[in-house]
């Protein structure tokens, strides 16, 4: 049940996309997200779709995984689309009117745009996490945040916290599963009853889960100290991040996409 969540799941591989420098991948993802909101015409989205589909094909990640990442946000997309449909005003007379529900042409277009944007936002970021291992991801973030150290942003500490958090997601899920089963074996019932009863029935899971998390945190801190961890100062890496031709090609492709989008925004609108 809980194991169906794919956010943050990494699928090992050695495709072009997998081998990109994580810093480049993170930046491209950010630019891609901004680009989604620059484009404001259906013609413009053709290029976005093409860029995304080609990226997925090149990464050799199966579409099933991307679809699984989309499933949980389906409701969110639906609500956004419906709200946009009814809340956007227009200049022309409405195309649909029933009591207080009014739909303008602009509303329909806006709803379609928001749906496309949200879906591709998730697809793009899923592709990032699906093709980048958590370690690479946090390494990349640390490097990207490095210049901010001067103004007091603890880049290394943030990255380490993220690494540890990501590392413990599967562990905690297993743990939750185990504790749930153990309490179910003692007759606990999590599915029926009123909301208050159900909230109360979580206590037998949460208390043991917190206790074991604290224990794990304690043990991890001890193990890190035993291996002489003392923060990021002067720490070297086994795998140095280096930009290669691949990264330049990918960046160039993204630059072209942004260029087309900006031009498209001026011409097609």
């Amino acid at each position: 049940m809980i194991k169906d969540i794919t956010i943050g799941q990494y699928i090992p591989g050695d495709s072009f996309v997998h081998k990109l420098d994580p810093r480049v991948k993170i930046l491209i993802s950010l630019i891609y997200i901004v680009d989604l909101f620059i484009v404001n015409s259906f013609k413009g989205y053709i290029f976005i779709v093409a860029f995304t589909v080609i990226s997925i094909l090149v990464s050799r990640v199966q579409f099933v995984y991307i679809y699984r990442g989309l499933k949980p946000i389906f409701i969110l997309v639906l609500i956004t689309a419906i709200l946009n449909m009814f809340m956007t005003g227009g200049v022309n007379p409405p195309i649909f009117k029933w009591k207080f529900l009014v739909v303008y042409r602009e509303g329909l277009i806006m709803a379609a745009f928001m749906t496309i944007r949200l879906i591709f936002l998730i697809v793009g970021t899923s592709l990032l996490t699906l093709t980048t291992s958590p370690i690479e991801l946090t390494d990349g973030i640390e490097k990207l945040l490095n210049p901010m150290k001067k103004i007091g942003v603890p880049a290394h500490e943030l990255a380490m916290m993220m690494t540890i958090a990501l590392r413990f997601i599967p562990t905690l899920m297993d743990e939750t599963d185990k504790i749930m089963k153990a309490q179910m074996a003692r007759g606990a019932d999590f599915q029926s009853g009123s909301i208050i009863q159900r909230a109360k029935s979580l206590v037998p899971i949460l208390v043991p889960l917190f206790i074991s998390s604290f224990r794990r945190a304690d043990e991890l801190a001890m193990a890190m100290e035993a291996r002489c961890y003392r923060g990021g100062e002067g720490r070297t890496r086994m795998k140095q991040l280096k930009l290669t031709n691949r990264d330049f090609i990918a960046s160039a492709c993204t630059a072209v996409l942004v260029f087309i989008s900006v031009l498209g925004r001026m011409w097609w609108h």
Binding site: K3, K178, I179, K181, A182, Q183, M184, A185, R186, G187, A188, D189, V203, P204, V207, P208, I211, S212
Partner: protein
Amino acid sequence: MSIKIENLTHVYMKGSPFEKKALDNIDIEIKDGEFVALIGHTGSGKSTLIQHINGLLKPTSGKIIIDGVDITEKKINLNFIRKKVGLVFQYPEYQLFEETIEKDIAFGPKNLGLTNDDIVKRVKRAMNMVGLEYEEYKDKSPFELSGGQKRRVAIAGVVAMEPKVLILDEPTAGLDPKGRDDILGEIRSLHDEYNMTIILVSHSMEDVAKLADRIIVMNKGKCILDGSPAKVFNRVDVLENVGLAVPQVTYMVKKLREKGINISKDVFTVEQAKEELLKILNKS
């Protein structure tokens, strides 16, 4: 009160690239009052099997019939199963959550919907059964106790539901030798004095040899050996093939036999070895 498992198969994550067959056509019948040990290498399907008997997992195919009722049917009342079969997980002390030991042990009976008087009675009885003094421990926090005592509280939490069958998944893992002997002693008495049917999952051949009437060996989701300790421990070749072993003392007896000493083959505990050796020494 018997457990009948017929053609039980369980496949994890069916239809995904991570598909894995955990149980493959298992057929086992466990009779009332038996003390069964379930042994097997890590990942052999023991834990999956015992979770089926408690109704926590539903089989991909096959049936589990407890007391004539098929518990794999959709409409089965789970409390019915929990009243019959108690399951103590590995490291059960990690499931403790209440402020006092009494409250924690009462969690299971409360879920069964018993009256307060009944619950108190059962808590007292359960604590007595696992060797915890009721008056001394009832108001203590379970988190103040030592590892072995915590585990007893956790076992009492399941015993208090008064199941006819008690399944324990490696109840001695991570305990010191004294704690281990104590827990095994309690389990023995649950079987001998309270007539519970026991299914014990264990990695220790010594413990299994000392306690069980019957041993079931699993490998890769299949049940490969099933019988009395004498029958199972005579198949050293099969056991070693799947990464298991026979008790140390049995190896010693084998060595002695190779040296020409006429000692019985069926020696599985230190106690038996002592008697056999004394017999031989007295003769000569």
